[in-house]
Assembly symmetry: C2
Homo-oligomer: 608 residues x 2
């Protein structure tokens, strides 16, 4: 029972020994081979496809559920559903082409005066004399106008300070923030002071290198979050940390390594020394911030859903293993409550100028977070929308990348689709799904309850081409959305239900926020849509299917990557950072599931 088997991934030329209690997904994760596992290895998403090149791995029930017969024939299997019972050679199939992914990096913002948290100062240090009672540190801090009692001096900063000061002939540049001494170097380096704003999303990570002397963005790097191989959504990642010994460390390392790669990339692009990057401001959702800080998010996944912390953190980069200046500061935005995380705090900062108006800000990702502003008060909630709008748990679903059907509309002649990258369709992304649902509703193929209608149930006025879009297989009902030479892209009844649940959850959250404030949709001055989802969405369709409240379409604004934009603001302005902290603190969190009307509202909002 203790024997081990060799698994080789020929696609990546990596191999290792595994025991029979481990799956091929475990092996891939251990070896660092990218195999998507949207559901975190629970056999629920059908994405972790590998091909068995050598070895006997008979197909199982899950394979038959998720894979085409010809795939099974070819040796394709779901990596998470097969334990390793002999030596095998396999191939990872779906390595994602990162470059093809369009990651939203810009967002709504406002002009702020440049006043970063971190400073540099060029100074002449008086040379110590015998007649006085000098010490290197005190001479340096005096020259910089800093109070030795009010700043933390890292012990390691002192280790080679005297040599540095003398090599610099008592003239050089000190780097510090309000609370810490960061460094001292010879010469006048005040012009080299940089920071990085990070949008740490569940799906994508964006890093922007900012010149803290000008506020200018010098380079941007965006990538799919490296943690996705351990689970696509936050719940799968939490499960990974619970189910795997050392899983928390694995996930933390994955994101820290990735940030370091991205830092190297942007530093190279801007031709600067990473040591002159003295701060990083990170806006992440609650789970992403827990994982980055190496703090277990376990109890966010269990009733009553408790984060470990809400406060913002300022941690030395060296302690985190993040390759900016070792004494530089890693700042994380405060969590507002449960799943309303630092990314929402950051988004709020971008809307700080509009606090006198009544508005709703919605960030639809794997979770839906929403904030209502009214009379200067902020109320927030989050809803477990599920990852349907990011294309997961949908048979033909995919993210908004090249090949995704992102727009669907219908006219007298038929159904028309737009595909990202204008290529052949390879799946349907969130905005395409909303359009599809809206279009099939228009055609009368989905009724108000979300049921796909067939045969006699189809209304009499329904066009002939529309009738051909409905198909049944056994008891299953499907709607045909698109096809390429190989494949038909359909929405199954289950897919429609997933989307119904997602839109119902978000719409219910919005309704409860409005209800608590004694408002209706008519009172809203604006609806702000943040995040990647807003990028391709059609406002009319989103309102038509009831995802967004019924407001005039011109009141709906896309604010882009607000989390990243807020991180930039907090990076270049200490005042903005303080403002974000205050807004987060004063934002009331509502747990919608405890609202007495929640079940009714949710049921109602699931209807079309």
């Amino acid at each position: 029972m203790n024997s081990k088997y060799k698994v080789k991934f020929s696609s990546h030329n990596k191999s290792g020994l595994f025991h029979s209690g481990q799956t091929f997904l475990d092996a891939a994760q251990k070896l660092g081979v990218p195999v998507p596992a949207l559901c975190g290895g629970s056999g629920l998403c059908g994405k972790c496809k590998i091909e068995i090149v050598k070895g006997n791995v008979p197909p199982g029930e899950s394979d038959r559920e998720w894979l085409q017969p010809e795939e099974i024939e070819r040796g394709v299997r779901l990596a998470c559903t097969h334990f390793i019972t002999e030596d095998c050679t396999v191939r990872a199939l779906e390595e994602e082409v990162e470059a093809a992914t369009e990651v939203l990096t810009a967002g709504k913002s406002h002009a702020v005066e440049l006043a970063p948290f971190v400073h540099k100062k060029f100074l002449k240090i008086p040379e110590p004399t015998l007649a006085e009672n000098p010490s290197d540190l005190e001479l340096l801090l005096d020259a910089a106008g800093l109070d030795v009692k009010k700043v933390t001096v890292p012990r390691k900063f002192l280790a080679n300070l005297p040599q540095k000061i003398r090599e610099a002939n008592f003239s050089g540049t000190i780097t510090f923030d309000e609370n810490h001494i960061i460094g001292f170097e010879a010469g006048d380096t005040t012009k080299s002071l940089f920071g990085v704003a990070v949008d740490l999303g569940t799906t994508t990570v964006v890093c922007k290198l900012v010149n803290l002397n000008s506020g200018e963005v010098l380079a941007t790097s965006s990538r799919m979050n490296a943690q996705r191989f351990y689970g696509e959504d936050v719940i799968s990642r939490i499960s990974y940390t619970i189910e795997h010994d050392g899983g928390l460390v694995v996930l933390q390392k994955a994101i820290v390594d990735q940030l370091n790669e991205m830092l190297a990339e942007i530093a190279k692009e801007a031709a600067i020394d990473a040591n002159s990057i003295c701060e990083m401001v990170v806006a992440g959702n609650s789970v992403m911030e827990h994982l980055l800080l190496g703090v277990s998010p376990h109890y966010l996944a269990e009733l009553p859903y408790v984060p470990v912390f809400k406060k913002s953190f300022s941690v030395r980069a060296s302690e985190m293993g993040i390759n900016i200046n070792g004494q530089g500061n890693i700042y994380t935005f405060p969590v507002i409550g449960r799943y309303v995380g630092g990314d929402t705090s950051s988004m709020l900062l971008t809307l700080a100028d509009d606090l006198d108006k009544t508005w709703l800000a919605v960030d639809i990702g794997t979770n839906g977070e929403m904030v209502l502003a009214h009379n200067g008060h902020l109320t927030s909630c989050s809803t477990a929308a599920g990852p349907a709008f990011e294309g997961a748990h949908i048979s033909c679903g995919m993210r908004a990348t090249n090949g995704a059907v992102s727009r669907v509309n219908v006219d007298q002649t038929g159904l028309h689709i737009q595909v990202i990258g204008e290529s052949k369709p390879t799946g349907v992304c969130g905005s395409g799904l909303i359009d599809a649902i809206g279009s099939f509703r228009q055609l009368g193929l989905i009724n108000e309850t979300g049921r796909i209608v067939v045969g006699d149930e189809i209304g009499e006025g329904t066009k002939e081409f529309a009738r051909d879009l409905v198909k049944t297989e056994g008891n299953e009902r499907y709607l045909i959305l698109a096809e390429n030479e190989k494949k038909e892209f359909t929405l199954s009844q289950r897919d429609v239900r997933e989307i119904q649940l997602a839109k119902g959850a978000i719409a219910a959250g919005i309704e409860i926020l409005l209800k608590n404030a004694g408002l209706t949709a008519a009172d809203l001055d604006a609806v702000y849509l943040a995040g990647a989802f807003g990028q391709f969405i059609r406002r009319d369709m989103a309102v038509a299917i009831g995802l967004l409240p019924k407001v005039p379409l011109e009141k709906i604004h896309f604010i882009g990557n607000a989390a990243c934009a807020g991180a930039e603001l907090a990076l270049v302005s200490k005042g903005e950072r303080m403002k974000a902290e205050k807004m987060a603190e004063s934002t009331k969190y509502i747990e919608i599931s405890t609202d007495p009307d929640f079940q009714d509202i949710f049921a109602e909002k699931m209807m079309f």
Copy 2:
């Protein structure tokens, strides 16, 4: 030239390979074999004796200078003066018997109210509910009455906090100080809260384990400072860090390892868990504190003698590798100026109640530090007394341990000695040297200028037995102090000069402090003598030879190990610690070498 030779220390069963640029002392230090090197390996103290068991190491000039012919015959050599040129087996000779060393651990102190910097609090944490917006950290801090914005929460504290809280059923003990969260543990552990006061001396280290709930000292450990094998005095240790790559790390590790051994010892003796030791307060001189913190003391050894820092430090134990609670605080007393270090700050704390009087406090160690209090003002200076009073650089010198001649007096019949441990004499310690000089002065064998008189120079009234105490060998003059069956213990003219220089330096420092305050010895209400040196000293002799100012003997008080006593005060009372910081900050430092009268005063004070 690149070949290496094997050196084996048969006495310690340790061996290693060394090249021909390395000395036997280097080998001993590398292998961790204790070979005393009072002068740091400069061939100036004659203490680093080893015996060549196998191998050819011809005696050199230094051996002939420092060793007896029969020792040389036997194969004894000075380890620091011989390079390794072939495979050898050697024996270390002078392994010190630590137990025999009497280390002064008690000191003058005063009663203070128990109010330590570190606290424990047993609390019930409200269990999180769905209706609220809880987080583990914020619930915990609220329950403890702590402001999340005012305390630093170590990231690592959070890593397993949620599990700990739940395993403890939301009831447990939080440990914290004013600035940091230290820990959380199940159950009520408030009774287990301990701290350690450390006197980090150049020669000796004392650790006292204190129950912070009662102020009671539970265990004491005292040892010779493990760094002494790299140099006996502070200057030799600084040289070691300058001359050896990585030398600073070696010295830091030596003391950290030793503190950990001592901690293990006292925790075992008191039967407590080292994790419940939550603070360590360290009083060390400037160089000892630099070395402990891993900060280069290089420029303390070069004009204009600049320490790297003067401020006190509070560093997490885990960062220092010190085995108390990892988040516990390591506090070091502030440095007053140059060589007037944290040990003086700590000593001052023990005298804080006497600030309305006029007094002088003198700590004679390898350096002499002295403080004058007058009208509530404190003035300090240090003098490079050299290690003569600790027995170094004196041919028959040794520390105040078993076998040391500690008292000498003279009557009609002859010279009489007292030996520590009432054994046969093996050398003469500082107090014995002062007595000896005083006695020889009384006998007329040393004149006012410090010259040993011989032949016709001896006064006519001089007793016959006294005349027999003078001896000449070539141009060298000696005074015979004692003898055992093997050896005569003599003071050479050079020895007398060393003592003259040491006492002159200290007396000059005192004189300049008095002069600056416009005072004379007659104005002093008290003279406090701190440190090991004071333990055996005879007040009359110290005044007679001019080491101490001419005050009535009853005004001279021994205050024992004041550094350790002050550390204890600062450990059990936050108020006392603040007081020490304030006293240190307000103590004026005088650089006596820049005083225009310094040369005159020093020359005068060298006279007897």
